[in-house]
Symmetry: C2
Subunit: 318 residues, 2 copies
């Protein structure tokens, strides 16, 4: 019987994650909703933030103390849980790095191609039974500026390159194949496609503002698959209505779900999707399996992977 | 003055083609519409079928006789002009091979990704201001069967492969990298994406019929960027309504433009576009330049390229 020393795994969820059955006998699993989080957190060895739309961790964080020793979020971004107390603590934070890369890259490619081929208008004409031939754009030979040089940004750049697009990656730290922030404005000004795939940090919040939309080409299209607050949404709506840029697609928003009354639903040239770019059939299963694997490392005393640099707000790396 | 021996170039068009100014002094250029075609054809040395939607050449063809010696069509398909008398004649037929390959490949990729990511439904929800998260499909790892092994089919296969799809090409003649007709049904039965990009000939007319839709996977999606008559449109509509397959996109139709009263506009799961897959900004210019280059070869007595095998109905080759 290992029960007395069995670690307590607290799971913040709405629907229970798959695959946790594999931890039977190796963890005492306690499920909680947002309301119960603060009471249970100090007794947890591990917190699994399965409901990654929740911001409850920040308010519920117990402050100084040894527990929980490890927090894992089933998301790439950690902005919803980071707070000064967590950052200052000894607690290790890990994320779901890797699970969303290829799906998000495909989603961006889908949006780029759909905009180049004017598919939204084609289907609008279909509803009206109108046959209206137009000239589409060729994607090969165009240029993209991908902001965010983590695995998601890199997968986006790789996928666009496979379609003949020339991508430029921009990250916080310039390195081989990655431009630093100093190059951003110059790259934005010549991009046909600007893709936001950066983590939300103090350095990136609101970075896509009126000034930056103003320097983009009138033919440019903007895509956000990172976090809503990277973008000044009012400025984007204005840039579209004034034709500073030719179109945009947002998969993420400052307030999610986007309220029915939001004007963003109806901005001409703006495509709205419900934060689903990374979520392909089987994703929950993959996220569950990823956590189980991390748990096994942790329980065995082996070093964790996907460890977030809490001062930066993302997993640093190549 | 070379005027007395200057060849007569008859151009069947609605809008005059660009770039023909470069033939000034080297061709006597006569423009005609469909009504005037039959009267002018016997005096033409060269016929440029610029209006590739016209079927007038078949009826107007002068029968036996030396002229025109060469017919060029500003399209990949030649089904709209081929007739027994033209096939039996000594007249050389050339097409616009090459111009449409990459644009059509991108268009197919756009449709594949849009269907995988369920974009049509996302934009339907946007109109209704509804936030409805769904799980999308991952394109990488899926299988495509591309029917038509000419440069367009090959460009489609190449582009899908760049997205991680495993493509199988099917052509009339099996060869390295290309399956023959004997493999078609087996490949259809396991494809996630079936793409029709074949020329319209006696061998391909109506090849996508109830039997073939019936053998596809319920999760399969069908895309036609070849010619409308490759498909039994009624059978496709039935296959969709009975959920034999999961979706389809048609860019070409038996009757174009698709009449407003056609039931195809409203078949659930069917995406309709107005024969524009190959037409990207600058395409008319490219078609004009391609013809001028061919004309220069022809006038200099050099062999033409893009020569159609009139018995097969397409340009043979790799």
């Amino acid at each position: 019987m290992t029960a007395p020393t069995m670690p307590t795994l607290l799971v913040l969820d709405a629907d229970p994650p798959p695959r946790l059955g594999r931890l039977t006998g190796r963890a005492r699993i306690v499920h909680t909703d947002e309301a119960g989080l603060a009471a249970r957190l100090p007794e947890a060895d591990v917190l699994l933030v399965w409901d990654f739309t929740s911001h409850a961790v920040r308010e519920a964080w117990p402050g100084e103390g040894p527990r929980p020793r490890w927090v894992h979020t089933a998301s790439a971004g950690v902005d919803h849980l980071m707070c000064p107390a967590l950052a200052a603590s000894g607690t290790v934070v890990t994320n779901a790095r890797g699970v969303f890369d290829q799906p998000i890259a495909e989603y961006v490619a889908a949006l780029v191609l759909a905009m180049a081929k004017d598919l939204p208008r084609t289907w609008e004409y279909q509803r009206q039974r109108e046959w209206r031939h137009r000239e589409a754009l060729r994607v090969a030979g165009t240029r993209a500026c991908v902001v965010g040089s983590g695995p998601i940004g890199r997968a986006i750049a790789r996928t666009l390159k496979a379609l003949g697009v020339t991508p430029a990656l921009v990250g916080r730290t310039p390195r081989t194949g990655v431009h630093g922030p100093a190059d951003l404005d110059r790259l934005l000004a010549r991009a046909d496609w600007v893709v936001a795939a950066a983590p939300l940090t103090d350095a990136t919040r609101g970075m896509f503002d009126a000034r930056r939309f103003g320097m983009m080409q009138p033919s440019a299209r903007f895509i956000n698959v990172g976090r809503g607050a990277l973008v000044d949404e009012d400025a984007l709506a204005e840039a579209l209505s004034k034709r500073w840029i030719a179109g945009a697609a947002l998969d993420v928003f400052t307030h999610e779900p986007l309220p029915p009354g939001s004007p963003l639903w109806r901005v001409p040239g703006l495509l709205v999707s419900p934060h689903m770019s990374g979520d392909t059939v089987g994703w929950r299963d993959e996220l569950g399996a990823q956590f189980v694997e991390l748990y096994e490392r942790w329980a065995a005393g082996r070093p964790l992977v996907n460890v977030v640099d809490k001062s930066r707000g993302y997993v640093p790396g190549h």
